[in-house]
Symmetry: C2
Subunit: 340 residues, 2 copies
């Protein structure tokens, strides 16, 4: 029997408790062996639980009288929001009272607070935001950094490659995932000095399955399992793809109203389109993780539905069970020994 504890930021996200509480109730019932610590406004949580007649004994409430707002600046929350549900959740992980935590709140604030409260693992300079995307062959490709660090040197990209490799190995049961650097061409001479030097660093380490450079279209091509880039490029690549995904769906809606023939065609194909949209729409890729920290932190989409917050909880449990932070630390130690 497991004695895992997960801390939840009940107040975070565009819709706060309206989204997080239904997901939490779902998690309480589906994971009766897991302890949950609900960080947030005690009154709001108790009201909800009594109103819906919810009985579960695998939780406790940690009252917090502050909440991080979606437009709070990261620099400000570090000083001014130490009594927030987000901060408390991270303190619980830091103090070993929780094994991992989940928030749908302000990404910038979560990154800054996680970095400050939990600290990075030995050998890791910066945490990274990572998520998986679908590939043509219905596999997963892991992309990092999605925006935690707008600029990265070669050493940081090297560390991201190690981190991404560990998460991919654990989540896809592939002991030797292929790792690539995102670049503007696959030849060694392409790109800027940073990616070229990162490539050299990665080539020198036998225990990483580094395959070289890949281009943007290769993200979906099943040529690699992990794609490493800095947070500026990763964020823009992910959001560009999201933009096109939405365009495809909107286009379908538009043509479906054009004339009877296209209307019928579109109606018939709608389930296929939805299926594809659900694969390509990044709103569905919940459970983006902040990795490289001394603890498990999972970020759910701010505008997520309660399903999504539940999946983020599931993702956190998986990372805790797989001991991802410990394995990143071990892998870092291995690769550092291998470096010339």
């Amino acid at each position: 029997m497991s004695h895992l504890t997960i801390a939840l930021d009940i107040m975070g996200g565009d819709h706060g408790p309206h989204i997080t509480l239904p997901a939490t109730v779902n998690a309480l019932h589906i994971y009766p062996d897991i302890q949950f610590i609900l960080c947030g406004d005690k009154q709001v949580i108790e009201n909800y639980f009594s109103r819906y007649d919810i009985h579960a004994d695998n939780y406790r409430i940690e009252h917090c009288d502050q909440a991080v707002e979606m437009d709070d600046k990261p620099s400000k929350v570090l000083r001014a929001k130490r009594n927030s549900s987000m901060y408390r959740m991270l303190e619980l992980v830091r103090d070993k009272k929780a094994n991992g935590c989940v928030s749908a709140g302000n990404t910038g604030a979560l990154m800054a607070m996680s970095y400050m409260v939990l600290k990075t693992l030995p050998g890791i300079d910066r945490p990274a935001l990572i998520s998986s995307l679908p590939t043509a062959q219905h596999k997963k490709v892991f992309l990092l950094d999605l925006g935690a660090n707008v600029s990265c040197d070669a050493e940081t990209l090297f560390q991201f490659a190690v981190m991404g490799s560990v998460l991919a190995a654990e989540e896809t049961d592939n002991p030797n995932p292929r790792v690539a650097l995102l670049n503007v061409g696959s030849e060694q001479i392409k790109g800027n000095e940073t990616v070229r030097y990162a490539s050299k660093l990665l080539s020198d380490v036998p225990s990483l399955n580094y395959i070289g450079f890949v281009e943007g279209n290769d993200i979906f091509n099943d040529v690699t399992d992990v794609v490493v880039t800095d947070g500026f490029v990763g964020n823009i690549a992910l959001k560009s793809v999201e933009g096109l995904g939405k365009l495809v769906v909107n286009e379908l809606k538009r043509v479906s109203e054009k004339n009877l023939m296209t209307r019928i065609m579109a109606k018939i194909a709608l389930p296929l389109f939805k299926k594809i949209y659900n694969r390509v729409n990044p709103d569905q890729y919940n459970g983006a993780s902040l990795i490289g920290l001394r603890g498990t932190v999972v970020k759910s989409h701010g505008n997520a539905k309660s399903d999504a917050f539940f999946y983020a909880i599931k993702e956190a449990l998986q990372e805790v069970n797989r001991q991802v932070p410990k394995k990143i630390q071990e892998k870092m130690e291995t690769v550092l020994m291998e470096r010339p």
Copy 2:
């Protein structure tokens, strides 16, 4: 009556004359008032013309005994391929014997040669590769740089904004196109120093309709007409989008073979899917232009079909007719006067 002359690189591209010659013949007939200079192997061109019994008097052949290969390194071609069809084509523009030119050849070589042979316009440090993408509202959004410059300082991004604004104005008959910088968030504090400083430079210039930062998903959102970024980010954004476009189509093929129901659904919807694919597949966005040079250079896809090479010729004609290089120079002069 027009006396325009367009130089064509007959030997460039994955398929060379097999693709460029049929497109050229098409152009010779459709534009009888335009002179074409066909740079390439005289024997190959004459054989083709005699074999297909082609008669036109609005062309001449400029024999070149070299061709730039798709895997030639840019640094090498500058020295070793001065008798190539690509180099000759650019010399014709430089020497005012042609008003513009079109190549489907090696992008890196074309960028390096164009920069060396034609030089940039006064006030412009680097040429940029620009293309338009479709938006949700069926308009065009112009994205630059798509890979001509892997790193750019704020001043270069500023110049790209001016260049993109001019091309968008000319191609969409919109005298005041909105211009935005691509970033990881829309707030002023987001991003790296380079984009923040570029944003400040752009804000100071009243004659540019600068609207601030946009994110990756905004490319398709009709919130801006021009999206400016460096060649590293632009190339990866474009190719990531291309990757997803292909995934959508492959997914359709896959589900369409699954069972009778989905097979019927997919078959019926195929025209819609193709329509969407044709809008999202960057292979279709031919006529990517190299702008900022003292002359018009249009790059057709290397693996383009002959239709695509024809459209690239059409694009070159349009830019020549609209005097895009001259207008970029004038706009540069205007904005430099406005700068504090």
